[in-house]
Amino acid sequence: MRKKITFKIALSGILCALGLIAFMLESLLPPLILPGAKLGLSNIFILLAVVLLGWQYAFAVLLIKTILGSLFSGNVSALLYSLPSGIIALTTQVLMLYFIKKISIVAVSICGGVINTIVQNLVFCFVNNTISYMAYSPYLSLLGIVSGAVVGFIVYLIVIKLPNRFTGV
């Protein structure tokens, strides 16, 4: 039992580190088409944490990655927008994975991507008391669909290729 918990803690640490590296690499690249739009590759590791370790570890990975990523990239104000959207998107993904029987990981990831962008825009509009910024939300949602599909596909490939000693199946 203790070995299992130790394994999970170690794996969540690795996923957190990989997520941070992906986040930092993305922050060096220029925005994708629209300002604030990123590839979202760090979400691969958060979704993997949900699948391999469970929702508790996934939330821990998300919190640590988001807080440390904002500190390391020097954009602490972004934490105000990315943390609530990340938590809500991850909650939705966890609920869908655990309670909906006939759903694919790609659809879960796409849904998470869209919710992430919409919630971020809503938080931005609430903080700055302007609804004008919602004009970018449909374009960012379309990018969220593409990024969610890529993330879901990569997570699917990892899950089918991982040996059973990692998945516990």
Partner: protein, 161 residues
């Protein structure tokens, strides 16, 4: 519990029947966003200028080619006429180390062209705005949006300044 999720992922592959309902919901949401936040504002907007605000306080307005700077921000704003339009620099503080450069083009559009905000400088990548849209620099709390003149009313509810 996780073993069941992994088995489910391996069985369902890329597509499952439940995905159809989700994808249709997402498409409806995107269409709703386009109609209410892109097409409708475009058809009803009638602004002929821009307003620059910092922490929800008016800094300056640019209406019909005329720049008007609020008295308290005069030390922090400089302007320069160029071939393409009017270039306005808004400094964050009197030490003039951090700034945003806003370009008001002759064709009636505006955008932030330079900034010292953060590594990613997201505000510089916004497309020029004309009669709708908003450009925001979060680290400097600077907003550029269309304005048709009249009294500027700051937001009533709190928010974070």
């Amino acid at each position: 519990m996780n073993g069941k999720i992994i088995e489910k992922i391996r069985k369902t592959r890329f597509f499952s029947k439940g995905d159809l309902i989700l994808y249709s919901a997402i498409i409806c949401a995107v269409i709703f966003l386009f109609v209410f936040f892109v097409f409708l504002p475009l058809s009803t907007s009638s602004s002929n200028g821009f307003i620059v605000t910092k922490n929800n306080k008016m800094v300056c307005t640019f209406i019909s080619g005329n720049l008007t700077v609020k008295e308290e921000f005069i030390p922090l704003v400089t302007s320069l006429s160029t071939e393409d339009g009017t270039e306005v620099t808004v400094y964050v503080s009197t030490d003039k180390l951090d700034y945003n450069v806003i370009m008001f083009y002759n064709d009636g559009s505006a955008k932030i062209t330079k900034s010292t905000c953060s590594n990613s400088k997201d505000c510089c990548y916004f497309n020029p705005i004309k009669q709708s849209g908003i450009i925001y620099c979060a680290p400097h709390s600077l907003k550029l949006e269309p304005f048709s003149g009249g009294e500027f009313l700051p937001p009533i509810s709190g928010g974070v300044s």
